[in-house]
């Protein structure tokens, strides 16, 4: 009985701490009902324009290429199930983590004898959207232990580093101020669970890198080059931070 007040004080102390760590909230929850309706109905979700293209690319044997994706991986519905939820993932032969886009590029180089598709091209967006769709509804679960750890920590450090003329870190907006407003828009927690996603502002499908570039330009920082290793570290940390949220690819966001 004498311990009860102490426990009560402890509980009261824990409440604000918990509120600070806040529940994970997908950007879906902050989108308008109209935007959510677009994402919910596959027949009107514009992301599916890319998904159908990706499905065709999966089967296609390009001129000069030894084999198609399907020749090795078979039916994507089974072989690619859960794959997108695990990326970025560590590649032992390269000694560094790869994003799903980079994995597809490596696969094309090593096994198909074809060049990697350029970043943000319709082909790479289509393929990653198609692969991502096979994991829809599954929780994000990147590996965070083992050789990938230093890259994850580098990503975490980057996430907390102030950048640009506005001298802002990702953490300031997306951890501390998430749920508040920037002009008229709600600041989301910045979870990468729907990429590649269709952004109404872009009027196109786009990758997580494109989104990060937008944020960096927004704080007036020099954006990373498209193939910068820092971006992989950051994507890895973001995926680990969002662990447990369901994959929504291809999501629709304002």
């Amino acid at each position: 009985m004498r311990r009860a007040p102490a426990l009560l004080v402890l509980a009261l102390l824990l409440v604000p701490l918990d509120a600070g760590a806040a529940e994970k909230r997908s950007g879906y929850a902050d989108a308008s009902p109209q935007t959510r309706a677009m994402q919910d109905d596959d027949s009107i979700n514009p992301g599916f324009l890319w998904v159908t293209q990706g499905e065709a690319l999966w089967q296609a044997r390009e001129a000069g290429a030894a084999r198609s994706c399907a020749d090795c991986h078979g039916e994507a519905r089974q072989s690619m199930r859960g794959v997108a939820a695990r990326y970025p993932a560590y590649d032992a032969s390269l000694g560094r983590p790869l994003t799903l886009e980079q994995r597809v590029g490596e696969c094309r180089r090593q096994h198909q004898g074809a060049p990697a598709w350029p970043p943000e091209s319709d082909e790479i967006l289509a393929m990653t959207a198609f692969i991502g769709l096979q994991s829809r509804g599954m929780p994000l679960s990147v590996a965070v232990e083992g050789p990938v750890r230093p890259f994850l920590e580098a990503g975490r450090a980057l996430y907390q580093t102030r950048m640009g003329q506005l001298d802002l870190a990702f953490a300031q907006c997306h951890d501390r101020l998430a749920g508040e407003r920037l002009a008229g828009s709600v600041i989301p927690q910045g979870h990468p669970n729907g990429y590649p996603l269709y952004r109404l502002e872009w009027q196109s499908l786009g990758s997580l890198r494109r989104r990060i570039r937008g944020c960096l330009v927004g704080v007036r920082a020099e954006p990373f080059a498209a193939d910068a290793p820092e971006l992989v570290d950051l994507e890895l940390y973001l995926a680990a931070r969002a662990a447990g949220l369901p994959v929504e690819t291809p999501a629709v966001r304002p």
Partner: protein, 106 residues
């Protein structure tokens, strides 16, 4: 060829009102924007859209600038007979494209 998602029910009962939908991948460039060098970007939009059911016109649409890229068109029609629904459209570069789907009406 633009990518297209056409959504037409495969079956309907006679007298039903069915929803016909199509999502067309198109830049719908308004003609009011300029590129990085200051040159105006020429207008490139879908101008005209027609949907027919067994060659009978269901809907005809004139489109104008300020319609977003990748437009979604959705409308309703009265199911009277089985056959083919054809949607076709023309854009500013004179490109014509058609998509068809079969529907059976019982």
């Amino acid at each position: 060829m633009a990518r297209v998602l056409m959504n037409v029910p495969a079956k309907a009962r006679k007298g039903d009102i069915v929803e016909l939908k199509i999502l067309i991948s198109h830049p719908m460039e308004s003609g009011f924007r300029h590129d990085a060098t200051g040159q105006p970007i020429p207008r490139h939009i879908i101008r005209e859209f027609v949907c027919t059911w067994n060659d009978e016109e269901v809907v005809r649409v004139d489109l104008f600038p300020a319609i977003s890229a990748n437009p979604l068109l959705s409308f309703h029609a009265l199911a009277e007979e089985s056959g083919t629904i054809v949607m076709s459209w023309t854009d500013d570069r004179g490109e014509r494209q058609s998509e068809g789907a079969a529907i059976s009406v019982e």
